[in-house]
């Protein structure tokens, strides 16, 4: 039995998610997103809990969690900079942009700042090549990046 559980509101959302699919297990990805929002990240306890909710062995939950890149298996910073290193962005100078951002944040890819404010990740093509070089900050795409633009962005983020 897992030690964590959804709040009543999250439980309602979970029930709605379940109703979308003919099989419980298909709710895996949306449930992981819901759990990430609810608990901040997917810890081993949360893996076990989701396994119970969806009636799958916890090993199958963890396989999904570790296969995909977007789920947080450890806590992330308030601002998650996902900077694109795809070919089109590479052609338009993303290496220098990555260097600049990493320097400003003093982080390497996959690292989170100790004050939990920033996480930096190098990611593959985000599908916004016409704005290269670009990155995703939390939910939004920011394109046509320059060092100046990045500096201003960092200053504006609280």
């Amino acid at each position: 039995m897992s030690k964590v559980t959804f709040s009543p509101e999250a439980k309602n959302q979970f029930e709605e998610i379940l109703s979308r699919y003919p099989e419980k297990r298909a709710a895996m990805l949306p449930t992981l997103y819901l759990a990430e929002k609810e608990f901040g990240y997917i810890s081993p306890e949360v893996e076990v809990y989701i396994g119970e909710l969806l009636e799958v062995p916890p090993v199958k939950v963890r396989e999904v969690l570790t296969f995909y890149t977007l789920f947080a298996s450890k806590p992330r910073g308030k601002y998650h900079f996902q900077i694109c290193r795809g070919l089109s962005c590479d052609l338009r100078g993303c290496t220098k942009i990555i260097e600049h951002l990493a320097g400003k944040l003093d982080l390497k890819s996959e690292e989170t700042s100790t004050d939990m404010k920033y996480t930096l990740t190098e990611v593959e093509c985000l599908g916004a090549c016409e704005t290269a070089p670009m990155m995703q900050v939390n939910e939004d795409y920011q394109g046509h990046l320059t060092p100046v633009k990045i500096d201003k962005m960092l200053k504006d983020l609280k």
């Binding site: 298909a26 895996m28 396989e63 995909y68 795809g86 593959e124 599908g127 090549c129 939004d140």
Partner: protein, 434 residues
């Protein structure tokens, strides 16, 4: 040159609130589905799409009408339509534009396709990173429900249809239709062996059609303007127009809606404004990073499935990436190979081991420690992944390896000095087994 046609999707890029029902209807939207529901049979829709020569616009180019006809008509199981909005092929961003600006055009295409195959529930599998797009899809889907355009008895008929928006979680392999189905079912994106094909046993073991966003988005216009109109645009057996994503070192990167068969040269120099700073073209990728690279003397090729296949490349997702004289081709191959290594699902041996190995070799070459045998090894890796894997990602990783090394071999040869890091001359001792 194919006749210039009025555009269907791209005008919506510049119309305000084009993602809403009212704006879509103001421009003629939702007429096709109402006409079809009341006056046409599912087979009529399939026949129209077949006649229009609409090919799958996600990458494979399989005729859409033919795929729909594989659904067994006598099966008692529910049928599913799954919309492939996983758009992750590097250089491709057209589906994002469709979802942002032609939302209800996509929905209407979904409705028509669903009716054609007898489906009452459609899933839109959208890549996890497209968060705003997913929110918009949900919002517009809810708006459609509120109008009675989705749900029980759509448009006042007795046909039920609903749409579920399902977000992916960061895996290019989930753009492959069977991996997508596995992911939809809540598992890792490990592609399945075929047969059975999804039309027979797809989502939840039921007959399923997986179609790309763009493919479905052209169905409404095929129904309103007629299949002959669509087929007459484009080239023989490659009907209609499509969205070309152009990026890289051009003046005007963006999405351009043009007939199938438009010459590549025209797209680069007329529509995308030509190369930055007037530089010389060095290489072009025509159809997303998987497609074999082209040299400047090849850019008069017509951008359709058959013409590109004839010169040993592919139209794929029509993601055009332009490289100029300043570009390091060796680095480009490294970046592309790094991508396939990162995205390989790991299920089958050649792709799992080969992509990682090739990336390491290319990194070593970039770092100045390449040796002559590396070229043969890289070619060999490409030659022995291709055709031997469960899914086309292996082929997609191999084609850049093969084409870059074939067409730009001199650049690689110059890079792999016959010295190793210590300055000693290293002889090629490995047997020439390729």
């Amino acid at each position: 040159m194919p006749a210039m046609a009025e555009k269907i999707i791209s005008p919506f890029f510049d119309i305000k609130n084009s993602h809403t029902i009212d704006v879509y209807e103001k421009h003629g939207g939702y007429q096709a589905i109402q006409d079809v529901l009341r006056n046409k049979t599912p087979q009529d829709v399939i026949d129209a799409v077949l006649q229009a020569n609409l090919r799958g616009l996600g990458g494979a180019g399989f005729p859409a009408g033919r795929k729909w006809s594989f659904i067994p008509k006598d099966s008692p199981k529910p049928k599913y339509l799954v919309v492939n909005a996983d758009e992750s092929e590097p250089g491709t961003f057209k589906d994002r534009y469709i979802m942002d600006n032609y939302t209800h055009g996509l929905f209407e295409g979904i409705m028509l396709a669903a009716y054609a195959i007898g489906c009452h529930k459609a899933f839109i599998y959208i890549r996890g990173e497209y968060i705003r797009q997913a929110e918009n899809l949900v919002e517009q889907r809810d708006a459609a429900r509120a109008r009675g355009y989705l749900g029980k008895g759509i448009f006042g008929t007795d046909y039920d249809l609903d749409i579920v928006v399902h977000r992916g979680a960061g895996a290019y392999i989930c753009g492959e239709e069977t991996a997508l189905l596995e992911s939809l079912e809540g598992k890792k994106g490990w592609p399945r062996m075929k047969p059975p094909f999804p039309a027979i046993e797809g989502a939840f073991k039921c007959p399923t059609i997986v179609n790309n966003v763009e493919t479905l988005s052209y169905v409404p216009s095929i129904m309103t303007k007629g299949p002959e109109w669509f087929a007459n645009i484009g080239s023989e057996r490659n009907g209609g127009m499509r969205l070309y994503s152009v990026s890289g070192l051009v003046k005007k990167p963006g999405v351009y809606e043009l007939p199938l068969g438009t010459p590549l040269r025209e797209i680069i120099y007329e529509h995308a404004g030509g190369l930055l700073d007037g530089r010389e073209l060095k290489a072009v990728i025509p159809g997303g990073s998987s497609s074999p690279i082209l040299t400047p003397d090849e850019i008069d090729v017509k951008m359709d499935y058959d013409s590109l296949a004839a010169i040993g490349s592919m139209l794929g997702s029509a993601g055009i990436i332009v490289m100029d004289e300043t570009v390091d081709i060796v680095r480009s191959l490294y970046v592309v190979t790094r991508f396939y290594h990162h995205e390989s699902c790991g299920q089958c041996t050649p792709c799992r081991e080969g992509t990682g190995w090739a990336e390491k070799i290319l990194k070593r070459i970039l770092d100045g420690d390449g040796v002559p045998q590396d070229i043969k090894t890289l070619e060999s890796i490409g030659n022995h992944i291709i055709g031997n894997t469960i899914c086309p990602l292996g082929d997609a990783a191999s084609m850049p390896l093969q084409s870059y090394l074939k067409k730009f071999r001199h650049e690689f040869e110059a890079r792999v000095a016959s010295k190793n890091g210590t300055g000693q001359v290293v002889e090629e001792t490995v047997e020439d087994w390729n």
